[in-house]
Symmetry: C3
Subunit: 208 residues, 3 copies
């Protein structure tokens, strides 16, 4: 018998948080409930889907309805507990960061298992964490947030580099995994608290 | 010798109708003829393509030029018989509904054949019917219609549920297929006649 | 030992030129450096990626970091040698045309090798050359240039038809390849010099 697994709990919380971010953005665009559900689902599973297509693995959500269920829970919370969801903004931010951490880790592990290099694994980890949000933004007809705002995908890359270092020095696997996830969460928290961001092309746009 | 098949005729009519919907939307955006052709083609084959990629089957249009031909016919009709196309709006609406019905059925059957669950088959049927229109709307830089307007993808889901029920009760296969397609067409006709729609997030957009 | 290959040089120059086109467009939209890098990379590899997914081949950039390197070089040039990049506009246009030519040829050859028809190979060549730019435009939230402006994808198709003719008449393979690439470059140069374009739907947009 398979008991309740810690990573499963993190993954489901992350999926619900990702789905809620999609549902809320869709609601701002007057999408109907069906549309909001679809956007929430795609936000949650988009990154892993693109990763699985790229490395020619069976797409992960085809064999389990749990990702639909997590999206339904997110939908339910947004419709019924609207005020609580808004009040719990910071809680969902932490779930989202945990989701980013776990999705990134899953992407790295799956890609290494498929026989690709550590370099490619870090990229696939980043894709797993960020591409769902990019597809969400394309579907709601907005410039993808991840390309303009605070460090998001980069938290995945940093987590990936930490994973690679610990892997290189033969750190215990379970420790490597935990440190990777926690680093990504920490980076997200620090980035948002101190408004870190990358330089952008704001100045030279008139010249190009 | 393979004679003219009834489902083939429905599929080609549906493909032409889907292509025409794409070409007309592209024409409103001042696309050139080449761009309009591409949008028409993607509208017609986008859903089935995404389905085949997700379930790791060979993409259906790679081995047959008939989908290009249907798009060319649609292109020809829009350019040459512009007024007739506009006059026949309701005829094309029926073709489009028939296309949706048949595309949905094809998606369900192909997915069941690949060994997936009925749940996943209904989802793949819906993807087959709707994703072409979503890609069309993304490419012409509009919010996807399917997320905001009257029940479209949901007609696919309803048809899928009817298919599942009849399958469960061991109804004759040919009957199951016909009833599925006709239900989807009927739902589309009723939805448009009575302006049915889902609740949307229109009211709470200021709060989110 | 593998020496420096002529087609490799063309491919890398083309990749840098495609990446720079993506980076410059991203910079106009105030993307940060990370976002611009990603857009540049996707512009360069998007077409080949979609081709490989469609014909179920391993995605070409998963096993080589050289496409990342080319994008980094493009990034470096845009940031550091901004003025030179603008001054060398025509040089980059030629690189871009050469990239289009070589990407198209690669797409054709890879698709024929996978056992598909010449018709499908020409389409995959066109997809290899143009889809990166389409994804770039979708991500920066613009109507895809290729659907509205001067002949671009059509240069790929024309090159593909020339390849097919020479192949049909058993022309030497190396000659076929060189003529295909040079024709595509020439078409691009002529198209831009003489402002050739397709008819569009500009007139009848009010009626549809």
């Amino acid at each position: 018998m398979k008991g309740i697994n810690f990573t499963d709990v993190v993954e489901y919380l992350g999926t619900v948080a990702f789905a809620i971010s999609g549902i809320r953005m869709a609601s701002r665009k007057h999408f109907d409930y069906f549309g909001a559900f679809v956007i929430g689902f795609i936000t949650a599973i988009g990154g892993g889907t693109v990763r699985d297509l790229l490395i020619q693995k069976e797409v992960f959500w085809l064999t389990s309805p749990s990702y639909f269920l997590c999206t339904l829970i997110g939908m339910f919370m947004v419709i019924v507990f609207k005020r609580i969801v808004i009040k719990l903004d910071y809680t969902f931010f932490i779930f989202d960061a945990a989701g980013l951490g776990l999705f990134t880790l899953t992407g790295i592990v799956v890609t290494l298992d498929a026989g690709y290099s550590m370099f490619m694994a870090i990229i696939m980890g980043t894709i797993t964490g960020s591409v769902g949000g990019i597809i969400r933004d394309v579907l709601i007809n907005e410039l993808p947030l991840v390309f303009r705002e605070d460090i998001y995908a980069t938290a995945s890359i940093a987590g990936g580099l930490i994973f690679a270092c610990m892997h290189f020095f033969n750190a215990p696997y379970i420790l490597t995994q935990i440190v990777t996830i926690i680093s990504i969460i920490l980076i997200r928290v620090l980035v948002v608290r101190y408004s870190w961001h990358f330089p952008s092309f704001k100045d030279n746009n008139s010249k190009f």
